[in-house]
């Protein structure tokens, strides 16, 4: 037999690198969740066993698969952390602050190592982290509490009765989809599985699940119908009361390979492109249909038209389904932020809690990756600049603990994210000192949030006297704003001195296909994203008033400034007749974009114009309507701010 310790010299397993990175991502997410839960057990005599098991096993698996792909730095790190957890699990160490910090730092480094390997960058140095882990593993010997050796398992479901479910697996049942994975997930829906074991009952292999649950009669009836037998367990056993944890220990096995498939995002992009092509082809079909209308009998034409309409509807369904496949819950991003907050709070000696809302909100996977950096920066800013020190908070009559909140929700075709804190708010005086001559308040002496955002987003802007570790890392608000803009989103800001600051990000659900309003100006066709248009209005030229160099109109008893697209793009103004306008922006930022004629609402496929040479302010991309001629898609928010300001910013 060959020496089993000899790692493979060839690259046999390199073809599994994608699988490896994908699996690592899942494990790292589980570790982040687990470590957050673990923190509450620092210096406690006992840690939730299932939590330790889960963490131990996750490091163990990471070690195993990292070794297989030859990433020895990750293997070594995971090995050290696994070692420490093994001792915790056996009760030979008590979880110390140092130990926890070493685990946390080790996990972060592990993530960096894996990421570096993925991007083929130089690997970070792991020596110090390994040393810190060895240190806690070797030295923190503690008095072992000689309590009962019963596990400190956290049922977490205090008061819920235990139920015993029996399932007899068979080929026939498995063929009908009733396999152990299905049964397990059904039982997880009704409660917490605390044990699953195989037995032999009446000569047959039988799986026993012990579940903490309060099932209703109809739930039980459902379970009976899929072949489960069950009975409540009347047990004298006392259910221990340990703090409930949000952490869902993975007592059950991972999802079976048959339940879901992994798809490379690039393939989904490809699929979306194909759907996009179909949308264009259908538009072409529609166009051709209208040209032959007068040459065929009308009932034939109607039939064709009907088929075309059905096709359109089916395409829309297809597009929605493909889009849905790309959607993932934002929870992963949020959880990571929780981690970051915890970290910076520690570094800056502050006490901060994080509230997450709307974690189930789904966003395009593409957006997930690109949102990470801007969110990270906003969260960092909130903790290090927004939240005051504990002493200061008490002095101004706030609770000593600061609060950060992250919210997500879907609003029509948009995802809205809010990141805020209950800290001191942005110090206007300091901003003013850095940006002399800029008015940060409007005539009513209210903070002009848009102007403020504009000011702090100037590259290099900083009010921090000495860039501290937590924030001044060279990524400023300008980069945040830029990233959001690249995602076709908008960023706005609200700040209240002494009360806190809130950033709001609005993003399109998807970037590939969108509903757009089509309009013409001087014979040229333009499209504008429907979600950015508040309303469509007619403009009677005689009602337009000229004020200095600007045109305005009274609309809904408000003064609405007008911007003529013909002037933005150096085209001819329409000489006579009604004009039309898209109202974009809200409140005082509302503006009418004047066009000659609105043709209607169409589904358009967005082709981004990412060549920097063709990057024109106010143009979001290009599309075609089926006649093969490209038309420009306008970025309403950019147009609204005028060519000098390239990014949107408005108060909310």
């Amino acid at each position: 037999m060959p020496d089993p310790n000899e790692p493979e010299g060839d690259d046999f397993f390199s073809e599994f690198l994608d699988d490896y990175f994908a699996e690592c991502e899942e494990h790292l997410a589980a570790l982040r969740r687990g470590l957050l839960t673990l923190e509450q057990f620092i210096d406690q005599p006992r840690v939730d066993d299932s939590l330790l098991d889960e963490l131990f096993r996750t490091f163990h698996t990471l070690k195993g698969i990292s070794g297989m792909v030859g990433l020895s730095a990750a293997e070594a790190l995971a090995h050290e952390m696994e070692g420490y957890l093994r001792l915790l699990r056996r009760g030979e160490r008590q979880l110390s602050q140092d130990g926890f910090d070493a685990l946390l730092a080790g996990t972060k480094l592990l993530e960096q190592v894996i990421e570096a390997h993925r991007t083929q960058s130089p690997l970070p140095e792991i020596h110090a982290a390994v040393a810190a882990l060895t240190q806690v593993t070797n030295t923190s010997i503690v008095e072992i509490e000689t309590g009962p050796t019963e596990s400190a398992t956290t049922p977490g479901n205090l008061g819920k009765p235990e139920w015993r479910f029996l399932f007899v697996p068979s080929a026939a049942r498995a063929e009908a989809g009733l396999n152990v994975n299905h049964i397990r997930s059904r039982l997880q829906e009704i409660g917490e599985i605390i044990r699953a074991t195989p037995l032999i009952e009446e000569g047959e292999v039988t799986f026993e699940f012990i579940v903490l649950a309060n099932p209703t009669e109809s739930v039980l009836e459902d379970l009976r119908s899929i072949g489960l037998t069950f009975a409540p367990i009347t047990s004298e056993r006392e259910i221990e009361t340990t703090p409930t944890t949000p952490f869902q220990p993975d007592r059950s096995a991972p999802a079976s390979p048959t339940i879901s498939v992994r798809v490379d995002l690039a393939r989904l992009d490809q699929l979306m492109l194909l759907v996009g092509d179909l949308v264009v082809s259908r538009a072409r079909l529609e166009r051709n249909l209208s040209t032959i209308r007068n040459f065929i009998p009308s009932h034939n034409w109607r039939q064709l038209q009907e088929v075309n309409a059905t096709l359109g509807k089916q395409l829309k369904d297809l597009r929605n389904d493909v889009m849905r496949v790309r959607m993932v819950p934002i929870a992963e991003v949020f959880e990571r932020m929780r981690f970051v907050v915890r970290d910076i709070a520690r570094e800056t000696n502050k006490s901060v809690t994080v509230d997450l809302t709307g974690q189930e909100t789904e966003i395009d996977k593409f957006l997930v990756e690109r949102l990470m950096d801007p969110l990270l920066h906003l969260v960092r800013n909130s903790v290090s600049h927004g939240i005051e020190s504990e002493a200061e908070r008490i002095r101004v009559g706030k609770s000593s603990q600061g609060h950060i909140f992250l919210r997500a929700e879907t609003a029509g075709e948009l995802v809205v994210l809010e990141i805020g804190d209950d800290g001191r708010g942005i110090d206007l005086d300091r901003v003013a000192a850095q940006a002399p001559g800029i008015e940060l308040k409007n005539r009513e002496e209210e903070i002009d949030a848009a102007q403020l955002l504009e000011t702090i987003s100037v590259p290099g802007f900083s009010t921090t006297r000495d860039a501290n570790r937590a924030s001044g890392r060279g990524v400023g608000m300008d980069v945040v704003r830029r990233s959001i803009r690249d995602l076709d989103g908008s960023l706005s800001l609200e700040t209240n001195p002494g009360k806190g600051t809130k950033f709001r990000i609005e993003l399109p659900l998807t970037l590939a296909i969108t509903d757009a309003l089509i309009a013409t100006v001087d014979g040229q066709t333009f499209a504008i994203n429907r979600s950015s248009v508040q309303e469509v209005m007619e403009v009677e030229p005689q009602k337009v008033k000229v004020l200095e160099n600007n045109e305005i109109i009274v609309h809904r008893d408000q003064v609405l400034p007008l911007v003529r697209l013909s002037r933005v793009f150096n085209l001819q103004d329409k000489k006579e007749g009604l004009l039309h306008a898209f109202v974009v922006g809200t409140g005082r930022r509302a503006t009418g974009l004047v066009v000659d004629k609105i043709l209607g609402l169409r589904e358009v496929v967005v082709r981004s114009l990412n060549d920097p040479l063709t990057e024109v302010c106010g143009v979001a991309g290009a599309t075609e309507l089926g006649d093969g001629r490209p038309i420009l898609i306008l970025d309403a928010r950019e147009l609204l701010n005028g060519p000098q300001a390239s990014v949107s910013s408005r108060t909310t």
Partner: protein
């Protein structure tokens, strides 16, 4: 063993990547059909549905440890003679004795080399024939 039929090899590991690596290493044996199980219960279910000619088994798995699975399998007449290769991550060597006592035919550690696994399994299958 029926020489005409494909051999059925059951790979039990909670890591998807690892299952694929094992399958791909053993694919070079030829005439093999692979089945994967991510947990002990899933493995037992597969065995209930039909015997396997060989099982590759990870030890550290949630819900049911590999050793428990091995003991359960060995206690059944039908699977008592099925060759079992325990494949576990370095650091678990202390389980070597446990695994061999529980009835493992071979004990290998990860990281493994594909040829090493392939050769060991080939030898094991031949000795069974």
């Amino acid at each position: 063993m029926d020489a005409e039929k494909d051999r059925r090899i059951l790979i039990v590991d909670d890591s998807r990547t690892m299952r694929r690596m094992v399958a791909s290493s053993l694919a070079r044996l030829g005439r093999c059909r692979f089945e994967e199980a991510a947990s002990g219960l899933e493995a037992i279910e597969r065995l209930v549905m039909g015997p396997a000619d060989l099982m590759v088994l990870d030890l550290n798995m949630p819900e049911m440890h590999g050793l428990e699975l091995l003991r359960f399998v060995r206690a059944r007449q039908a699977y008592a003679s099925m060759p079992v290769v325990v494949l576990t991550t370095k650091g678990d060597e202390s389980s070597r004795t446990d695994a061999l006592t529980a009835g493992a035919n071979l004990f290998l550690t990860k990281p493994f080399s594909s040829s090493e696994l392939e050769e060991s399994v080939r030898a094991l299958l031949q000795s069974e024939e």
